[in-house]
């Protein structure tokens, strides 16, 4: 993931540059609490006045005014620089700042940040918003609180030690005097910013909001139909567009007959977009835009349009043929990515050998809100509103594609109606900018569901082969894992066909098994569609194969799945895959703060087993399955209970999950992410497949791209969040990887059918038809 991310933000400067007056311009709304900027700027010239000491704390810039504005009314406006897509990042960021600030929660409001390097990383992916910002937001809040206290002490001419901040007020205990934050903001603005070492950061016991089940800041709006998603943006004079795109990646637009489209009532223009040249990166796919006075007119116009598409280099892409090819790849030796001991010798010497091959298809993120963006030009300046996970990458991509200076572009991140990785790629915003420029009017581009499913950045198709050698007592002595999948890097450099270290570190090279001989290999596979991130990325197929295979080994050894899994994980220790030749990135987290602690993985296995009553006798046709996986530096174990009827109908009465995500900001929202992440994984495993024929995606809408519905969802779902003082880990993605193998293992225990190829059912089937294994 490292390489694409660099490409994503080619012009993003270092996280904390020097302060400039432009920041004051940004936040300097009337009466707002703005400070630090002028102080810092003149501090370099004025002896005796300190420069801002908080521009480069752990995590980046913690300058209070960058994150907090206090209005005379006492309203506390907290800037959220990450994108809100249902993970409750608005609430989490506000909880962190407000806790240290001693803000009154009822006065807290969120301001969504524009895309701007001054905020540091805004790329809302990788389950790291809290992890990256926890420390610096606490520092910003504590610094602001300190300045408010200082301002009050000066106003009252009392010793600073006699005043304290408390829920939006500063109190002088001796005299009983009280001033609200709103009354102090302007004076605090003129004070120097304290250094981190001089701040009183609250101890964990004093947390007021962090770790508490604070209610969501977005939900009250959502339930009233308020709040603005990308697709909801309205501008005066707005026009609406859809785009007819070449069915194949790098296909081209041939002859266009626009007359039938223009004959549709409400259609205003038909605009040919430039063909896409490799590599795909975040550039638009080309094709033809249809602009109308409402979205319906544009959709009807597109249906009437006649285009001759010209085949490109992916015209032969066929999923069935590719599956055969990919399975062949993992039957051959690959490139070694991690190695311990001598696997070949240990396999040869094993009392029993086990092997299995797994296949998983392309998937689509398919957020309920499809991609949508609005663009508006004023002379040579461009403003965009869009549901993007990374407004900075959006801005940089716009600047590069349109060849205009970065400072001429303003990118507003709206709410995201789900994203799951799709909206970290801003191709759809570039489309809006191109069309708006042609129209000389504000234009909204909407992707229909068909567009979303046929022209996405797909989760990669994968093949894996695992082999193990077992000793006479059943213990695993040798473990070989081969994986092959078109890599995400191919989207950025289409000559690359080997997985990156980042992708290999998502569940392959970081395998936590304590076996004496172990090797992880990768095979080569070219990409024929755009490959992109999807919630937990390569962890999905790696966890499916590895955790299914763990259960297959247990079965071969005649052992209980859970006991055998714990034995594979082995004694509690810190694991360093790099000591065995891996190039493991650990989710960009320092291994000192976030080591791989196998004891934490074992612990969630033990907890979830107890929650589920693992080992109890179940009625015929019912089974429990277990899987555990560390991803995004959090540890999750899941037990799925399935019931399979005599005629093969699968239902999921109950799921249990234990997560150790270190310090958590909001346990309620962590539980929601675990539940959602799990069902996302179950839905994909049961029904999800994106396939191609003649280079074109075959699925188009929810009948053939099937999602789990109410009647199919687990009836009960219990989540245990481990109480931990470890640094915060990710929560948006880690729920997903164990879902598919826990389900597959449960189906095996219920029926004896071993699932090695996904999806389990597909879009049309309702019954398990695979036969019991020999």
């Amino acid at each position: 993931m490292d390489i694409p991310r660099q490409i994503a933000s080619p012009q993003a400067p270092a996280a904390s540059g020097p302060l400039s007056l432009s920041r004051r311009g940004m936040l300097g709304v009337s009466g707002a609490f703005v400070m630090g900027l002028a102080l810092a700027a003149c501090g370099r010239e004025t002896p005796g006045v300190a420069v801002n000491p908080l521009t480069d704390v752990k995590g980046g810039d913690a300058t209070p005014s960058l994150w907090i504005a206090i209005e005379p009314s006492g309203a506390v406006k907290i800037t959220c620089h990450r994108s809100e897509m249902g993970q409750q990042v608005w609430t989490a960021m506000a909880q962190i700042v407000a806790d240290e600030l001693e803000a009154d929660w009822s006065q807290v409001e969120i301001v969504q940040a524009l895309g701007d390097p001054k905020y540091g990383d805004q790329n809302t992916d990788g389950s790291r918003s809290v992890r990256f910002n926890f420390h610096r937001l606490r520092v910003a809040g504590a610094a602001m609180r300190s300045m408010l206290e200082e301002a009050a002490a000066r106003r009252w001419r009392v010793d600073r030690s006699g005043v304290r901040a408390d829920l939006g007020k500063v109190i002088h205990a001796a005299s009983g005097r009280v001033l609200g934050y709103g009354e102090l903001a302007e004076a605090a603005d003129r004070l120097p910013i304290p250094a981190e070492a001089d701040l009183q950061i609250k101890p964990r016991e004093a947390w007021r909001y962090i770790g508490k089940e604070v209610a969501s800041l977005t939900v009250p709006k959502i339930i009233r139909g308020q709040g603005t998603y990308g697709i909801d943006v309205q501008r005066p004079g707005l026009l609406y567009a859809v785009v007819a795109r070449p069915p194949q990646l790098f296909g081209r637009t041939g002859a266009v007959d626009e007359a039938p489209a223009l004959a549709v009532p409400g259609v205003e223009r038909v605009i040919r977009l430039p063909d896409l040249e490799p590599p795909a990166v975040f550039k638009p796919l080309g094709g033809v835009a249809i602009v109308g006075r409402d979205t319906w007119a544009a959709i009807q116009g597109r249906a009437a349009l006649k285009v001759d598409w010209v085949d490109g280099p992916n015209a032969d892409y066929d999923s069935a043929a590719f599956e055969t090819m990919l399975m062949d790849v993992v039957r051959q030796p690959g490139e070694t990515r991690r190695s311990r001991g001598d696997v070949d010798a240990a396999l040869a010497a094993a009392a029993k050998r086990v092997s299995a091959e797994y296949y998983a298809p392309h998937l689509a993120q398919s957020p309920m809100e499809p991609p949508s963006a609005t663009a508006e030009w004023t002379d040579d300046k461009l403003e965009c509103w869009a549901c993007v996970q990374d407004p900075q990458a959006t801005r940089a991509t716009l600047a590069g594609f349109l060849q205009i200076p970065l400072e001429n572009i303003k990118v507003n991140a709206t709410w995201l109606g789900g994203a799951f990785g799709r909206k970290s790629k801003p191709d759809f915003v570039i489309e809006a900018a191109l069309i708006a420029k042609e129209m000389q009017r504000p234009v909204k581009v909407t992707w229909t569901r068909e567009d979303d499913l046929r022209h996405g950045y797909f989760h990669s198709v994968s093949a894996q082969r695992l082999e193990a050698g077992l000793a006479a007592d059943g213990a695993c002595t040798a473990y070989l894992h081969r994986t092959a999948f078109p890599p995400i890097v191919a989207t950025f450099n289409n000559t690359v066909d080997s997985p990156s270290d980042g992708e290999m570190g998502l569940g392959a090279t970081d395998v936590p098994f304590a076996v004496p001989h172990l090797r992880v290999e990768s095979g080569r596979a070219p990409a024929h569609v755009r490959i992109g991130w999807l919630r937990s990325v390569a962890n999905i197929y790696h966890s499916f194969a590895v955790q299914s295979f763990a259960a297959e080994m247990a079965h071969a050894a005649g052992r209980d799945q859970k006991d055998y899994l714990l034995e594979l994980i082995g004694p509690a220790r810190v694991l360093d895959p790099n000591a065995e030749g891996a190039a493991y990135a650990n989710y960009d987290a320092p291994k000192e703060d976030y080591p791989i602690e196998t004891g934490r993985l074992s612990r969630v296995v033990e907890i979830v087993a107890e929650m589920a009553g693992w080992g109890r006798t179940l009625p015929k046709g019912r089974g429990l399955g277990i899987a555990a996986h560390r991803s995004f530096v959090s540890y999750v174990a899941t037990v799925v209970e399935v019931a399979v009827s005599a005629d093969g109908v699968i239902s999921i009465p109950h799921v249990w999950l234990a997560v150790d995500a270190g310090t958590v900001v909001n346990p309620r929202h962590v539980r929601a992410q675990m539940e959602g992440g799990t069902i996302y994984g179950l839905s994909n495993a049961l029904y999800g497949q994106i396939t191609a024929k003649a280079g074109a995606i075959e699925q188009g809408n929810f009948p053939d791209w099937r999602l789990m519905r109410m009647a199919e969802a687990p009836l009960a779902f219990d989540v245990h969040v481990v109480d931990s003082t470890s640094p915060p880990g990710g929560v948006g993605e880690p729920g997903t990887p164990p879902a598919a193998p826990a389900l597959a293992n449960a189906i095996f225990n219920a029926t004896g059918v071993r699932i090695r190829r996904l999806p389990i059912l597909g879009p049309n089937a309702d019954r398990l038809t695979q036969r019991r294994n020999a």
Binding site: I222, G225, Q234, D294, W296, M368, G417, G418, L715
Partner: protein, 151 residues
Amino acid sequence: MAITLMINREARAVDAAPGTPLLWVLRDHLGLTGTKFGCGIAQCGACTVHVDQVPVRACVTPHDALEGQSITTIEGLAGPQADAIRAAWEAADVPQCGYCQAGQIMSAEALLRSNPAPTDADIDVAMNGNLCRCATYVSIRGAIKAAAGKL
């Protein structure tokens, strides 16, 4: 040719092409963006509104077939069932991204109006047309029961 639609108890003049689905009239012509687009073929329920109190999918309902009928969207949804549902949704923080939730609430409100004590099977039937990719189904089920308990 303008027609008049009764939306959220207000008469609204609409001048859209004949056959334009209600969804796009609401969103693009009237600025009522609480009703969402998800599939365009009545498969996801994100566009659910009430026509004469009955849930319909606005993405496949021609607006010009609705003259004289009463249309309710999430912005105008009111009454004891709506209050109970909103309170239950808020108490449990049911929504995640929230995009499908207008449709979920419109379906749930209609369910509780016709059936004040729905069983799991009743909930399955009434809510199966509303997809949620964030997968808030377990929370929705719980919140419908909680709302029913308050009515």
